[in-house]
Symmetry: C2
């Protein structure tokens, strides 16, 4: 009698509807107008606003384009949903370089919309890290927690040791060297100047 659903995930339509509705109304658009502008049926728009469906990203993109919005404007708190971005110490996927003399571990999330990258860097005795030029305006912050290093950029060189911090532009190639007998460690921040 009762129909048995083979895979019965209960899909609860998310609630982005209010968002869309208020944005649409703020522009004084009717469902029909927006429907024509976006190429999405009036019915669909209505159902999205009522949270009766899980719309496709294709559809949401069409709507966003018509309203000259970023898609994330239409989706409920996409960034606020994840207040924390965690990188467990046990997760070694973030260790993107590990050879005998140099280990680099990323401490910031692998997002594409980032403007900041956070690293932990370990150089064994004799180790060095050579970097190609980054984008113009990019800058680096370095804080030494163990041993000592030299930073060479252009024709200048700076010596820093445990507890020291340094800040410099990295739009030309530069090199970090461990200048002590033992291992050296540091935290590094790379900041991209976005538009």
């Amino acid at each position: 009698m009762a129909k048995v659903n083979k895979h019965s995930e209960k899909k609860s339509p998310a609630r982005h509807g209010g968002r869309l509705k208020s944005l649409r109304l703020a522009r004084g658009l009717t469902l029909e107008q927006l429907s024509r502008m976006a190429g999405v049926s009036k019915a669909m728009l209505s159902q999205i606003e009522q949270d009766k469906v899980n719309p496709t990203v294709a559809v949401m993109l069409k709507i966003a384009r018509a309203m000259q919005l970023n898609i994330s404007d239409l989706i409920d708190s996409p960034s606020r949903e994840n207040i924390f971005r965690i990188i467990p110490a046990s997760d070694d996927h973030y260790t993107f370089r590990s050879d005998p003399l140099c280990t680099i571990r990323t401490l910031s999330p692998l997002s594409l919309e980032k403007s900041i990258e956070f690293y932990h860097l370990k150089l064994e005795a004799g180790g060095e890290l050579q970097s190609e030029p980054h984008f113009p305006g990019t800058e680096e912050f370095l804080h030494i927690t163990r041993g000592q290093m030299s930073v060479a950029s252009g024709d200048q060189t700076a010596e820093i040791k445990k507890g020291d911090s340094i800040h410099y532009r990295v739009d030309i190639s530069h090199t970090l060297r461990n200048t002590a007998r033992g291992p050296a460690e540091a935290y590094m921040i790379v900041r991209y100047r976005g538009e």
Copy 2:
């Protein structure tokens, strides 16, 4: 013979697949791992990566959450798709206040992720605009193009006239007044200090 499709929109699955795949691989995740983490079937993930489907935003959100990403990281250039955000002069939906003494028109897009709002303000003789306190750190820039105004914030008042510009914090309530006989106009920028 040939089945006639009543509504035969040719849905071409967008190409966000590569994005997801590279982000997944960057983390060293397999389809099955990600499948369990996100609660999305392995098959679906594979099809998304191959651009064979138009996934639902619900699904993309699950994936984004599992990867601790913003959904826009997974969607192809959502912001870059619209380089220009146009507000036609003829579009009066952006005029959000219009009474005999005061007209305000928004010149910046009605996005939610904004940190800047741009307005054109017109005060007739005797008109004034009282504003409630904004968030801490919010600031305002004003440039007068016609007539003259006074800006009162706290117990201080400033007089500015055509050609003048002014900058002030607006985390306490403040008032703009037209102090001349004729109309006054200005451009106004409100800047929110994000996070």
